[in-house]
Each structure stands twice: as C-alpha cells, then as structure tokens.
Subunit: 357 residues, 2 copies
C-alpha cells in the first residue's frame, strides 16, 4: 500500500516535472541540442569542432550517471521538504563510491539498530525493576520487628506491608514496560532487514544495467569516431585525386559513418531509458524510505511517551502505598499500647501490705 | 533527671497513699490488728485460738511478699492510667516464678530488641536502594541507542540521563534513611541493657533481703510457738502441783515467751521495713520504665514518620526527573530530524538528465 501511494506521488511528481515550464523548456533545449549534435555528427564535422562541442556539453557523466553541468538550474522535486528524493543523487567521494541511495539505506538500518538497542535498554530497565521488586518483597516478608505490639506494632506491620505494595507497583511497572514498550519495539518491522536487502538489490540491479549501457554508448562513440576518421581520410584522398573508385569508397565510408551514428543514437536511447527507470525507482524508493523513517520516529516517540506515563503512574501508585501507613502512624498511641499490654501481661494489682506479727 | 521526677511522683503518691482515708484507716486497722495479735501472743492464748486467728488473718504471704486477703479493697495508685506501678505486684505462676518487675524489664528489653531490629530492617532497605541506584546509574551510562540523532536522539539521551537522576534520588533517599532513621534507631539508648541490668540487680537485691527477713520472721514465729508450748506445759504442771519451783519455772517460761514474742515483733518490723523499701523501689522503677516505654514508642513513631516523609519526597523528586524528558518528547519532530540529517548527509541534489549523443 505504501509502495502504491509512493508510486502515485512519484508519477504526479514526474508529471509536474514534465509540465513545469523551466524543466520542460530545459528538456526541449536538451532535445534540440542532441538533435543538433547528431546532425553535426552525420554531417561529419571536423574533430576539433566535435571536441569543442564536448567541452561545451550541457551534461557530464560521473560513475555512469549523467548530470547537468553546474550552470544548469533545477527546481527541487519537493521544495522546502528536505525530501530524500532531492538530495541523494550523487555518489559519495569515499573509496567505495557509496551511492546516495545506499546512504539512505544505511540510515534505515541504523534506525532499525537504534530501535533494537532501545528495546534492549528497556529490557535492562525491566530487569532492574524486577530485581528491586524482588528485594522489596523479600524484605517485607522478613520477621524483623515482628514482635512489636499495639498500635506501634500495627504501624510497623503496615510499613512492612507497604514494601510488598511497593514491590507490586514496581512489578506492574516492569510488566507494563515489557508489554507496552519493549515488545512494540521488538515487534516493529520484524523483516525489515530483508525488505531493505530486497530494495537495495533492486536499485543496485538497475544501476548495474546503467553501467552496462553506458559502456555500450562509449563503445559506439569510439566506433563512430573511427568511422569519422576513415571518412575524413577518404574525403581528403578524393579531393587530391578524384576517381569513381575514390568516390565509391568515400560514399561507402559515409554510409558506415552514418550507420555508426545511428548505432550511437540507439545506445544512448537505451542508456537514457535505463537511467530513467533507475531514476524513477530511486525517487519511489527514497520517498518510501522517507515515510518509513517518519513512521519509525513517531513509533519510538509514542512508546517513549508511554514509558514516561508508566513512570509517572508508578510514582503515583507508590505514593498510595503509604496512605495506610501514614494513617496508622497518626494513630500510634503509647498510652493505648500500655493499656493493651498491661491488660494482657499484668501479674496482679494487689499491693503488698505490712505483715502482721 | 527522669529518676528524680519519678521519685518525686512516687513520694507524692506515697503521701496520697498515707493521706487517703480508706488506706489510712486500713493501715490503722492493720496496726490495731497487729497490736491485738501481739497482745494475744503475750497473753499466751491457746494454739487453737492462735491458728484460728491465722486462718482469719487479713494478709497472706506468697513468695515472701505479703498481700492483703481477697476481701480487702485497695484503690489503684494511679487510677485509669494502666500504670505499670499498679499491675505487677504478684509473681507469675510459671516454674521460675518470674516477678512482675521482671515482666516489666523483659518488656523493656524486648522494646530495645525491636528498636534494634527496626534499625536492621531500615539498613536492609538502604542496601536495596543503594543497589537499585547503582543499577540505574550503570544503565544510564550504557551506550545503547547512543547513535540516535536529532530531536529523537535528544529525547533518548534525556531518557538515559533521567535514569541517572532517578539513581541520584534513590541515593539521596538511602543516605537520608541512614542519617535520619537508621542512626537515630541505633544511637537511641546505647547503654540500655546495662541500665536495665543495674535496675534488675537493685530490685532483685531488695527482694532477696525480703526473703532473708521473711525466713527470720518464720524462725522467730517457730521459736515463739515452742516457747508458748513450753509455757502451756509449765502452766498445766503448776495447776496440778503448785510449788515455788514450779512457779519459778513458769515465770521463766513466761519471760522467755515474752522475749520470743518481742523477737518476732522485731523480725516482723525488719521484714516490713524491707518490704516497704522494695515496694518503694518497685513503684519508682516501674514509673521510670513506664516513662521509658512512652519515650521509646514516641521516638520510633517519630522516625517512622520521617521514613514516610522521605518516601513521599522520593516519589516527588522522582516525578521531577521526568520533566525535561516529557518536554523533549513533546518536541520530537521527524520532519525537523530529516532536515538536519539531510543537511549533514546529502550527497548531491542535482538530478540526472538524459545523456546527449
């Protein structure tokens, strides 16, 4: 579904690209220039003129991808959006010549890794809470002070019970952390790496096709160059010594040169088709990755918010574990305790009297 | 100082006891009865009459302490107060015949033990808090998720920092628990057991004197009995056969009997003095112990209240460790994060164009 949405965005973008007057005039200009250049080739202009034209060319090809030269102005596909589809067209200058698309893929994998590490972090927190709860619970069952009596004894017993309640609160926190934070982190995009691998494979395949087709263009260009030189030689010979044989040779060379020109045009067509396909795929996939990243950030934000909610909840529940204890401490009454204790432990209230003789 | 206060209370009590009309009339009656009984002894009444008088006696001695017989009515020294000085005059019926005062001392030692156990319990709680704080602090320094970027990265870093803050809160709790609860429990009455030992020794000494003096009374009573029998025999012989020798013998027996009667009166006096001293000491000490127990209960109550105050404080401080995190989570913005990341990582924004021929 995401893919479909992205694709429709892309086609509307591409439509915009076509409709957009600057771009379309540029494309027209490019079309014109390529027509002119093929015409010039067919007319077999001198190599000096041809190399001059190359130096003035409106595009240059880097790592088999063809970019406009610096003086060409392009409008962004999605202005003001800092969209992935606008900023990753070149390869990096590193030794591996990492592609822009690989930079995007790497960002995704790093994001996935972060999500996994956050889950791991939360797991550690869960363990800490479990240990804390276990210790509190164990201490609350400890017999220390159990023989304290009366209202003070009740308050003390409640203090110990409050530790069990605290333990319960922390266990609940730990269990909710697991279900509402750790698990969502772990379960979010389980097959993500495979998905990214597939995407990478697809785009890399298209890029490789581009390399193959660019090599074909180069080969055709070299062949045309040979034919042009041959034609030049034949033309020169014919000028020096005109004969029907010479004329025949030159016409043959002219036909071969024209054929080589047509071959080159065909190769360039194939190359441009391939580059278009790669371009479209990169735009589509970039927008897809961009959407995935927004989704990931929002998912993480949402669950970290859940974490703070649970923490706040825990502090509040913790407060309430003291309510009964606070009440009982207010009711501690040493005089009442004495009365109770005396009633239970008195040995006899008759005082001694003098012995009679 | 406590001892002084208690002593003055006791003397006012004893004054009250003397002034109190019922008691004073009782004492008068007792004095009368003892005068009568010594008179009867001196008049050498028959043993039948004497044993009858014993059966009708207004007091009976149990374990060397003399109590009024059941039909005697006494008013409590401190009515409605359930005072220790009113309910522990008899020994227990257990095999050791534990004295009432020992029951009171045992209560004190148990109280001291409870105070010690509570300190121990608080110490365990301190350990739990320290461990918890240590774990939280360690986790907060953990590198997991450290490569998360942008506003989400800031929120995540704050989440980790909040764990260090939580650790700090629990360390503070633990440190305050130690200074404001555990230490007061430990330092309260450091020489208490020795003090109680001294008190016990003192009262036990007086009680032993009572035993010795009661034995003297019994011995004197038996001697008087012998003398009375002898006098009876002599009187009988004189009635049968009057002679100056007989009369001399009877008069001698009469003198000896009177002497034995005086001895008994003296022994009873010493015994009663001893019992009074013991009585006064027990009243004084009981009131002292009663005061100590009130003080102990209030001390414990006060510090358990301090415990709940610290717990409440901890929960509140804990809440505040989340403030910054809550703010930063509100500010998490995937679009802003993308802008930052794209600015830092973009490879090139010039889009490919068709290759010219």
């Amino acid at each position: 579904l995401t893919r479909l949405t992205v694709s429709s965005t892309v086609s509307s973008l591409l439509t915009r690209l076509t409709v957009n007057s600057t771009v379309s005039s540029l494309l027209t200009r490019l079309a014109v220039s390529s027509t002119v250049s093929s015409l010039l080739t067919r007319l077999a202009v001198s190599s000096t003129v041809s190399s001059l034209l190359t130096r003035l060319a409106v595009s240059s090809t880097i790592n088999c991808v063809t970019f406009p030269t610096c003086w060409t102005e392009q409008q962004l596909l999605k202005p003001h959006e800092w969209s992935y589809c606008d900023y990753f067209w070149s390869d990096k200058k590193d030794p591996q010549a990492t592609t822009g698309f690989d930079v995007l893929l790497h960002k995704q994998l790093k994001g996935k890794q972060m999500q996994k590490e956050m889950a791991e972090f939360i797991r550690e927190r869960i363990k800490i809470e479990d240990d804390y709860a276990k210790s509190l619970s164990k201490l609350s069952q400890n017999g220390l002070g159990a023989l304290e009596e009366g209202t003070l004894g009740e308050a003390w017993a409640q203090l110990k019970k409050s530790l069990a309640d605290e333990a319960e609160v922390h266990l609940k926190f730990s269990s909710k952390l697991q279900n509402e934070v750790e698990k969502p982190f772990l379960n979010f995009r389980e097959n993500f790496k495979k998905d990214m691998k597939r995407l990478e494979h697809h785009v890399t395949g298209l890029r490789k096709q581009l390399v193959v087709r660019y090599a074909a263009v180069e080969k055709a260009r070299r062949a045309l160059c040979e034919r042009q030189k041959d034609l030049e030689v034949k033309s020169h010979l014919m000028e020096i010594k005109l004969s029907s044989k010479m004329e025949e040779d030159m016409k043959k060379a002219q036909r071969k040169s024209t054929q080589a020109g047509d071959d080159l045009v065909h190769c360039v067509d194939l190359y441009n088709q391939s580059q278009s396909k790669w371009f479209e795929e990169v735009v589509t996939s970039s927008l897809e990755l961009e959407g995935l990243e927004v989704e990931r950030v929002e998912m993480i934000r949402k669950h970290l918010c859940q974490y703070t909610t649970l923490r706040h909840e825990t502090d509040m529940f913790n407060q309430s574990t003291l309510e009964m204890l606070d009440q009982l401490l207010q009711s501690v009454d040493p005089l009442k305790d004495r009365e109770m204790w005396v009633q239970e432990n008195k040995t006899g209230e008759q005082r001694p009297v003098d012995l009679e003789v």
